[in-house]
């Protein structure tokens, strides 16, 4: 019950946080800290290798449960999500003070945190997918915090489309995995891993799951959305796009690593894409001057490192994954928050325009230095231990020297990025900045200070995280108990030599950063042929396709496209009847006189529609047809349907009344004779086809199983006599919920289209 309660609490608290956040109150950080404390209380249960499992009924008819699982891996993530969440919420309350739309921002941020917790705690594949997509949705809202800026809208849409397209691939993978395993329970899937890995469909499952994870975790070539997501406010960048959401793909890979760890495709995909991402991120990070974009590309490098480490089989790799994950979350969130402070206090985050800031903001400079040293992997910070582990894993792997070379480049790039963010802005002679800089208040400094201090503390006392978190989490990734005792100093090993080489390479590159950066930035081919441009081409292509297709079907004349629609219906239905030979005549034995009278009336009304020579006559005559059809329903014992039809007709007349005043009102029909003949042909064809279809349908014996069922159960089970309404609100309530959601969305979308058309008309564009 505890896990469901925690996730539900996180979701429900969104309203409270939204209310407090709208007032920029630091109280917003209380909720994440309560969650963090709760997970700390659960730590002893998991530290010894225990697993907390719980399951609640959700959709029993499909075998889907609201099941949760807390093991070392999910607890590590839950602590990062809630702990860094607390720091970020507190920071945001000062950083965004006085900004617009704050209540909405905090609601989205809290919903994001809740979805993340749900995703990492889910023990059911379907539940995991639901929370996974919720994180994409809330990320969309948060990147698009400033919807009036075109760049913000584009980035939000790009991030959403890339991660959701990946999510769809993952959903396909999940369905395949569920059907192969015969269950959606992650725990059961982990138990029968060998059977699943040996199944012929396992390659397809791996490819689909990896596609979802790669899109979410910004692996090359799907990485550009992450750099563009930096238009979001800094707390969002620090939280979603470095410490938590982008790690969800890594979480998915780590979660299913015990199942597929020895599968050749799994190893090839993860190591291949991970290494490619490390190299691409390293090069791209060197081209930027914007502090946040530099950090974003270094995050991409780290995500590539994590993917590659998961791909390497073995227990050592599992330990390296967890250690690097924790280390990266600590220093990267810290440095992002520092970059935000620099931006907030100086008015710029262009590293080439910043220097000497240590004189104005000494505390920030000290914090940045601590974070930067951990990122550069220097002792005694935990970053050093993690980097040694990465090298040790690489050296032990089968294609070790390639991986070590890639890791060397990536880690040297980390040293450069750490230098640019943590030293360059603060050292040297002070520069003139748009604002007069000084250290920010407690709320903005508390988070970075704690995160940086933890990086140092865990380095000096690695057992603090080692036994409680790293070992249980690594055991969950390896799928078996892992024995490992973390230590900072390993003695004189090849890893130490590599560390020294990394540092030398990094410092060398940092000292030549200006030249290196401008050389790399001048390579236009990267912009011209990069995946970001590819995304633009794809979107333009999609729009051109839509334009072409719309022009084909809807050329702008209502009459033409209604005509085409009807012609297609008539031809398709007629051809099916003709070719499949389904036509039959019903017996008219039980028709009775009132029906015949109505039919006569109907014929008169239809003729009136056909004879109408202007809009008003036509509308009134068509309304008559509608009312007579409603009468037919009434006589046939369907008062509900008749009632609805009457209401719709009445509303339609009101709407026509509103519109008719603005239409070009002509006394006479303006169609030429051939046009009229063509329209007549379409109308007659549709009428004949529809009549033939209905006659054939009526000639079939009536299957009364469903109506019998509802007639028998409506009163005892749903306490209602009106079958139609009972079905709508009770038996099929979920369908109705979907329908009204579509109805509402259609109205909002139509309103958006009308607004867009009007703006165009105002600006004089076609």
């Amino acid at each position: 019950m505890i896990l469901l309660a925690l996730v539900a609490f996180a979701f429900i608290s969104a309203l409270l946080v939204g209310w407090a956040g709208g007032r920029s109150s630091p109280f917003v950080a209380v909720i994440p800290f309560i969650l963090f404390a709760s997970f700390c209380v659960l730590l002893p249960q998991v530290a010894g290798g225990g697993i907390v499992l719980e399951a609640h009924r959700w959709i029993p008819s499909l075998g889907i449960e609201a099941a949760f699982r807390l093991d070392g891996l999910s607890l590590t993530f839950a602590l990062l999500i809630s702990g860094i969440g607390g720091a970020v919420f507190l920071y945001a309350s000062a950083y965004l003070r006085g900004a617009p739309r704050l209540a909405r921002f905090y609601v989205a941020l809290t919903l994001f945190m809740a979805s993340m917790l749900g995703a990492v705690l889910a023990d059911d594949l379907v539940l995991l997918v639901v929370f996974w997509e919720l994180t994409s949705l809330t990320s969309f809202l948060l990147i698009g915090y400033a919807p009036e800026q075109a760049e913000s809208r584009r980035s939000a849409q790009q991030g959403f489309l890339v991660t959701v397209a990946g999510g769809l691939a993952m959903l396909a993978g999940v369905i395949l995995l569920g059907s192969v395993a015969g269950t959606f329970s992650i725990t059961e899937i982990l138990d029968r891993g060998e059977v699943i890995a040996a199944h012929p469909l396992s390659s397809a499952i791996i490819a689909l799951l990896a596609a979802g994870a790669f899109a979410k975790s910004a692996q090359a070539p799907l990485h550009s959305w992450l750099a563009n997501a930096m238009v979001a406010p800094t707390p969002v960048s620090a939280y979603l796009h470095s410490a938590t959401m982008v790690k969800l793909g890594v979480y998915l890979l780590a979660r299913f690593d015990p199942v597929f760890s020895d599968h050749a495709l799994w190893i090839a995909l993860l190591i291949g894409f991970g290494a490619a991402t490390m190299l691409a991120g390293s090069v791209l990070a060197m081209r930027e001057t914007d502090l946040k974009r530099v950090l974003a590309y270094s995050t991409i490098v780290s995500l590539g490192t994590l993917t590659m480490l998961i791909g390497i089989p073995g227990e050592l790799a599992a330990v390296a994954v967890v250690a690097f994950l924790i280390v990266h979350a600590l220093y990267k969130a810290c440095l992002f928050l520092v970059a935000g402070i620099i931006d907030h206090e100086t008015g710029t985050r262009d590293s080439s325009a910043l220097g000497g800031m240590r004189r104005f903001m000494p505390i920030t400079a000290a914090v940045a230095l601590l974070g930067g040293l951990s990122m550069a992997g220097l002792p005694p910070f935990i970053g050093f231990a993690a980097k040694e582990l990465v090298y040790e894993t690489g050296l032990a792997a089968s294609v070790g020297w390639v991986l070590v070379a890639v890791a060397l480049i990536a880690n040297a790039a980390m040293v450069v990025v750490a230098g640019v963010v943590a030293i360059r802005c603060f050292a040297g002679a002070p520069t003139v900045t748009p604002r007069k800089p000084h250290d920010p208040g407690f709320a903005m400094l508390a988070g970075p200070i704690v995160l940086a201090a933890l990086g140092l503390l865990f380095g000096l006392a690695p057992w603090l995280v080692g036994d409680g978190l790293i070992v249980p989490a690594a055991s969950a990734i390896a799928g078996r108990p892992v024995a490992y005792s973390p230590s900072l100093w390993h003695g004189f090993t090849p890893m130490l030599a590599l560390s020294v080489l990394t540092l030398a390479l990094g410092v060398f590159a940092y000292l030549r950063w200006d030249g290196l950066r401008s050389t790399l930035a001048s390579i236009r081919q990267i912009d011209r042929w990069g995946p970001d441009r590819g995304y633009d081409h794809a979107m333009n292509g999609l729009q051109r396709l839509a334009l072409w297709q719309t022009g084909l079907i809807q050329p702008g004349s209502m009459r033409v496209y209604v005509g085409r629609m009807l012609a297609v219906i008539a031809l398709a239905a007629g051809a099916t009847l003709l070719l499949r030979g389904g036509f039959a005549m019903p017996s008219f034995a039980d028709s009775f006189a009132p029906d015949l009278a109505l039919v006569l009336l109907l014929v008169v009304a239809v003729l009136a529609v056909a004879r109408a020579r202007n809009f008003v006559t036509g509308i009134v005559a068509a309304g008559m047809v509608g009312f007579i059809v409603a009468l037919v329903y009434l006589f046939q014992g369907a008062p509900d349907l008749a009632f609805t039809q009457f209401s719709v007709e009445a509303l339609a007349i009101v709407i026509f009344l509103a519109i008719v005043g603005r239409l070009p009102f002509r006394e006479e029909d303006y169609r030429t004779r051939p046009e009229r003949l063509r329209d007549m042909g379409v109308a007659a064809g549709t009428g004949v086809a529809a009549t033939l279809v209905f006659l054939s349908v009526l000639s079939q014996p009536f299957d009364s199983r469903l109506s019998d069922y509802f007639r028998q159960t409506s009163v005892p089970e749903a306490h209602g006599h009106n079958l139609v309404n009972v079905i709508l609100v009770d038996f099929r309530a979920l369908d109705t919920l979907g329908e009204i959601a579509v109805l509402g969305l259609a109205a909002i979308a139509a309103a958006a289209v009308i607004t867009g058309l009007r703006r165009r008309a105002k600006e004089g564009r076609p």
Partner: protein, 131 residues
């Protein structure tokens, strides 16, 4: 559309349509009616009221954006399904307060349908009247 006749008659039509729509909504469980039809009737009445008075007249009558009615309606419909979750039943399994009268969470759901239908029709209308 600012005709005196419409302006005068709509003053009578609006309250009649609203009262009738609520009556139709409430009786829907046992007799022909329900949230969808009730919503259509209410929307028609409001539309007749708004046509001669324009966009501002509609805004003054509704006091909130018609889109807010859509959101409120969906919230009602979703809320009606939540009590079941706390009793370990599937979402939208309805609960009954007075089974004999047919009063339960279904009514909350139907109010949701009613509001969404009103909101959807009036969203179209409000943008139309604005231009």
């Amino acid at each position: 559309m600012n005709s005196l006749i419409l302006r005068a008659t709509s003053r009578l039509i609006l309250p009649a349509a609203l009262i009738f729509s609520v009556y139709v909504l409430l009786r829907g469980h046992n007799n022909p009616g329900g949230g969808f039809i009730g919503g259509l009737i209410a929307a028609a009445g409001i539309a007749v009221h708004a046509l001669p008075r324009g966009h501002d007249g509609l805004a003054a009558l509704l006091r909130a954006s018609p889109k807010a009615y859509i959101g409120a309606g969906l919230a009602f419909a979703i809320l009606s399904g939540l009590p079941a979750l706390f009793l370990a039943e599937p979402f939208l399994t309805h609960r009954w307060f007075f089974p004999g009268l047919g009063i339960g969470t279904t009514l909350v759901f139907d109010v949701g349908v009613y509001l969404v239908v009103i909101g959807a029709v009036l969203t179209f209308l409000s943008y139309y009247l604005e231009g």
